[in-house]
């Protein structure tokens, strides 16, 4: 007998409530599958997915450049500020500003972290579509 064609025995004296409805094993398999799909849908919606970090450079408030930082390393200069985009991080390697605070900020790694060169009006920020935190306190 094919398992999918198996009819539940309805002739037994104590009737199974499911078998009394005339539901076949195949129907139960389909219903269980649908329940599993619904379950996966609920659970998948509860977890955020980490996505790639993107470094975004602003000059005087305007976005002038963006780059996914897990790609090839590169170095670019914006308004006198040289930014190094590494495979996992970003830093300002040099700047023509007097206080060098942007250089001394060091390397940033997390979404929400930023480096600012105030005299040159340059801001570098790391962003991620789905980050583990909304913002970084420092």
């Amino acid at each position: 007998m094919n398992a999918l064609d198996l009819h539940l025995d309805t002739s037994l004296p104590k009737k199974n409530p499911i078998s009394s409805l005339g539901i076949k094993l195949f129907d139960i398999v389909i219903i269980v599958l649908l329940l599993i799909i619904c379950g996966i849908w609920i659970v998948s919606g509860s977890f955020s997915k980490e996505e790639n970090l993107t470094a975004v450079v602003y000059v005087d408030g305007e976005e002038v450049y963006s780059k996914e930082i897990n790609t090839q390393s590169e170095s670019k200069t914006f308004n006198g500020v040289t930014v190094e985009f590494d495979e996992q991080s970003v830093k300002v390697s040099s700047s023509d500003c007097p206080n060098q605070l942007c250089v001394r900020t060091g390397t940033i790694y997390y979404s929400g972290e930023a480096i600012a060169c105030v005299p040159n009006k340059v801001v570098v920020i790391l962003k991620s579509e789905k980050a583990t935190a909304d913002i970084v306190a420092y």
Partner: protein, 341 residues
């Protein structure tokens, strides 16, 4: 017996009813799943980054995807900087420091609250530290290690009890106010006041690392997640605060500093000595319902150290996360903080 047989449905009908019932149950579950996931989905958001108050500003608004409100927030912060920055030539604080009596209600309120924290921290935090901070000029163009005699001379002018803020704000001759320790937090207060006048569902705002968490990110009302930077591990996050609404400020010896002859000089000055504070703490994070207070307490607790700092935080019903020199974490008060592993 024959009646009973009549009431019984035939097997085919039963099967159809059973399948319909099962399908209804699955559809109901799917609908619930849809609404659950929808409520967990963030409102549409808009992000604006820029520079104001000499630092990085990040504004994320939720439930409003247009630029004007984020721009308005930037404008609120810029406007405040023109009032309270001692570096701005014509600011209200610069005028007070030049000996004027400045009638400005907002400034009176800031000064009054600073005085309160100064009193409760026994002068470790003192807004009249202006002459000392000018000497060090952390983050400015003239950042340097002052001589001890310069510091001792400047210290003579540091005394919060001589500030006047009844109607007009004024200081003693030669005294200088520096609101740098509370400016970013107060900017967050101003932003919150603005947000309350809008229909924005939620927002997170960082003014140079001082944070405002406002409203909600989604219909489910999920908490905001605020990461706290590790004070020693450059690549690390100390942990994450989960917060409904409120203000978060962090003071650490790692943010602004310079090194001279192998010694690190950080920017958090002890108003009693004129030198960078040397307590058992390397990082203090404060969580309160007021931005100015968060900023003032994080500075004061950092200077006072863990024991007195804890008592001060408790006095203001603030929550705190202390990290000492051994990198041991102490959580004070009621805060949902998950340490990063």
């Amino acid at each position: 017996m024959s009646d009973k047989k009549k009431r019984e449905l035939n097997p085919k009908t039963k099967r159809i009813i059973g399948i319909i019932a099962a399908v209804i149950a699955v559809v109901a579950l799917a609908v619930c799943a849809y609404f659950y996931n929808s409520s967990k989905q963030d409102f549409d958001s808009y992000t604006k980054n820029g520079i104001a108050m000499g630092t990085v500003i990040t504004v994320k608004t939720y439930g409003d995807t247009t630029a004007p409100k984020a721009e308005a927030i930037m404008s609120v912060i810029n406007q405040l900087d023109k009032t309270i920055s001692w570096r701005e030539k014509d600011s209200a604080v610069a005028r007070v420091n030049n000996g004027e009596n400045v009638r400005l209600n907002e400034l009176s309120q800031i000064v009054a609250r600073c005085k309160d924290v100064a009193e409760n921290s026994d002068g470790a935090f003192d807004p009249t530290i202006g002459n000392v901070s000018t000497l060090w000029d952390f983050g400015g163009d003239n950042e340097r290690l002052p001589t001890d005699s310069e510091i001792q001379n400047a210290l003579k002018t540091v005394d919060y009890t001589k500030m006047k803020f009844d109607g007009a704000v004024s200081v003693d001759k030669g005294q200088k106010i520096d609101l740098g320790a509370v400016g970013k937090g107060y900017a967050c207060d101003m932003v919150k006041t603005y947000l309350e006048s809008t229909d924005i569902e939620g927002a997170v705002v960082s003014v140079g690392g001082s944070i405002l968490a406002y409203g909600h990110r989604n219909k489910a009302g999920d908490k905001w997640r605020i990461a706290v930077k590790h004070p020693r591990n450059e690549q690390g996050i100390l942990g994450t605060i989960s917060l409904d609404e409120g203000f978060v400020s962090t003071s650490g010896d790692y943010e602004k500093y310079f090194e001279k002859d192998g010694k690190r000089y950080h920017h958090i000055l002890d108003a009693r000595t004129g030198y960078p504070a040397e307590s058992d703490l390397i990082s203090v994070t404060i969580i309160t319902d007021n931005g100015l207070l968060s900023d003032a307490l994080s500075t004061a607790c950092f200077i006072l150290g863990s024991e007195k700092g804890k008592a001060l935080a408790e006095k203001y019903n603030a929550s705190a996360i202390f990290v000492n020199k051994e990198e041991k974490i102490e959580v004070v008060g009621d805060v949902d903080f998950e340490v990063n592993k």
